[in-house]
């Protein structure tokens, strides 16, 4: 990642420290999408975020992963304050890149449901 890589601060982009709505995620997606489409690297910076949902991550990072086959190498995420947020991020990326992963998650939840 070069020093002059464009950075999108999520809190600034959505105007709140609560990154919880799908529509907020789409705002970040819309902001970063032109860069990813042009095969340019971009940093998505979560510094300043207090609350984060999987819905937001699916709408933003998950959708960005489908924009360009090279997305995974173009997008850098930093500033995730909570280790569980990183798990949610990984789930969003896996689901976007590999929809079959969803079947494994469904199976795990079925066990919970029927136990």
């Amino acid at each position: 990642m070069q020093e002059n890589t464009p950075s999108i601060n999520v809190s600034d982009a959505i105007g709140t420290s609560n990154a919880i709505l799908h529509s907020f995620g789409m705002t970040v997606y819309d902001t970063a999408k032109p860069l990813v489409q042009e095969n340019k690297p971009v940093i998505i910076d979560f510094n300043g975020i207090r609350n984060l949902t999987s819905a937001f991550l699916h709408a933003s990072i998950g959708n960005l992963m489908t924009v360009n086959p090279n997305s995974i190498h173009l997008i850098t995420v930093n500033g995730l304050a909570n280790p569980e947020w990183n798990d949610k991020l990984q789930d969003a990326i896996k689901l976007a890149l590999n929809p079959e992963k969803r079947d494994a998650i469904a199976s795990e939840l079925n066990e919970l449901f029927n136990s």
Binding site: N18, I20, L21, H22, F24, T53, H58, G62, N63, L112
Partner: protein
């Protein structure tokens, strides 16, 4: 017309059936005046007022019905509905309500865009309420908060209504019980889930599908695991989660899942969470 709510109105199938019966009857009228009688109420779970307020405001806006209430009856039989803000909402007054017993989580409404206000309510009014203080680990606090934020997202995405989400709670210190309710009056679980999977054709099946952690997020996105996380928490803590949508009353009672018919339909979705210590 006059309608009397009577007996106990608790957070259970019978309590919900009473409210749905009221809604179903009054929704058949337009431009009418409904005198809602609270004189025969014996007991009212304050969190259930979120359901009642959602129904009454929908009857007023969709059917142009006028709801008339004798507030003295509320003060005499279920004054908790004044302490939790129900009376202020319904009478559209700016009365500042203070719950001197601090047993209620105030009745509030949130538009789908009120993200910051909803987060503050969940963090401060709900999860830091004295009724939960010391009973939730840091991990449980975070997971329950995240679950309700996911539910809020689902209302934004799927409810297909401009009407707000309604929330309310009540703490029973003697019984060591804490009840919390969220209500939306959108399209409910079935419509969007049926679009995703045509094999799912009943509300019962749709709730089952949603509780398994599935979601109908638009486009390629997935997510929305709020209900499955709450179910997991309830399994570990002997708590209860009840989900009502369409004609189905779905309940995890702390040990097992039960499903009942409401016999009538109510739009949207209601989620009750009951903590026990």
């Amino acid at each position: 017309m006059e309608y009397a709510l009577s007996g106990d109105l608790r957070t259970n199938l019978m309590g919900f059936r009473k409210l749905v019966h009221l809604y179903d009857l009054v929704s058949q009228y337009e431009g009418s005046r409904l005198k809602l009688n609270f004189g025969k109420i014996n007991f009212f779970d304050a969190n259930m007022s979120a359901v009642l307020l959602a129904m009454l405001q929908k009857l007023e806006s969709d059917n142009n019905n006028k709801i008339i209430i004798d507030y003295d009856q509320i003060d005499q039989n279920c004054e908790v509905l004044r302490r939790n803000g129900f009376v202020s909402h319904l009478s559209k007054t700016t009365e500042v309500v203070e719950d001197i017993r601090k047993s209620t989580v105030p009745l509030k409404t949130f538009k789908s865009t009120d993200a910051d206000a909803f987060v503050s309510y969940i963090e401060n009014d709900f999860l830091k309420h004295r009724g939960l203080d010391g009973h939730l680990s840091e991990s449980a606090f975070g997971k329950i908060k995240d679950s309700f934020l996911e539910i809020f997202c689902n209302v934004e995405l799927h409810s297909e209504t401009n009407r707000p989400m309604y929330t309310c709670g009540q703490f029973y210190p003697t019984k060591q019980e804490f009840k919390f309710t969220v209500v939306d009056v959108g399209v409910g679980f079935l419509k969007n889930i049926n679009k995703k999977d045509r094999a799912i054709s009943t509300y019962e099946e749709a709730i089952d599908w949603a509780v398994k952690g599935n979601s109908t997020k638009k486009g390629t996105t997935q997510g929305g695991t709020g209900l499955s996380t709450i179910l997991r928490y309830c399994r570990s803590s002997k708590g209860e989660i009840h989900i009502v949508s369409g004609d189905c009353y779905w309940r995890f009672n702390g040990k097992e899942i039960e499903k009942y018919s409401l016999n009538k339909y109510f739009c949207g979705a209601t989620v009750h969470l009951i903590f026990r210590y």
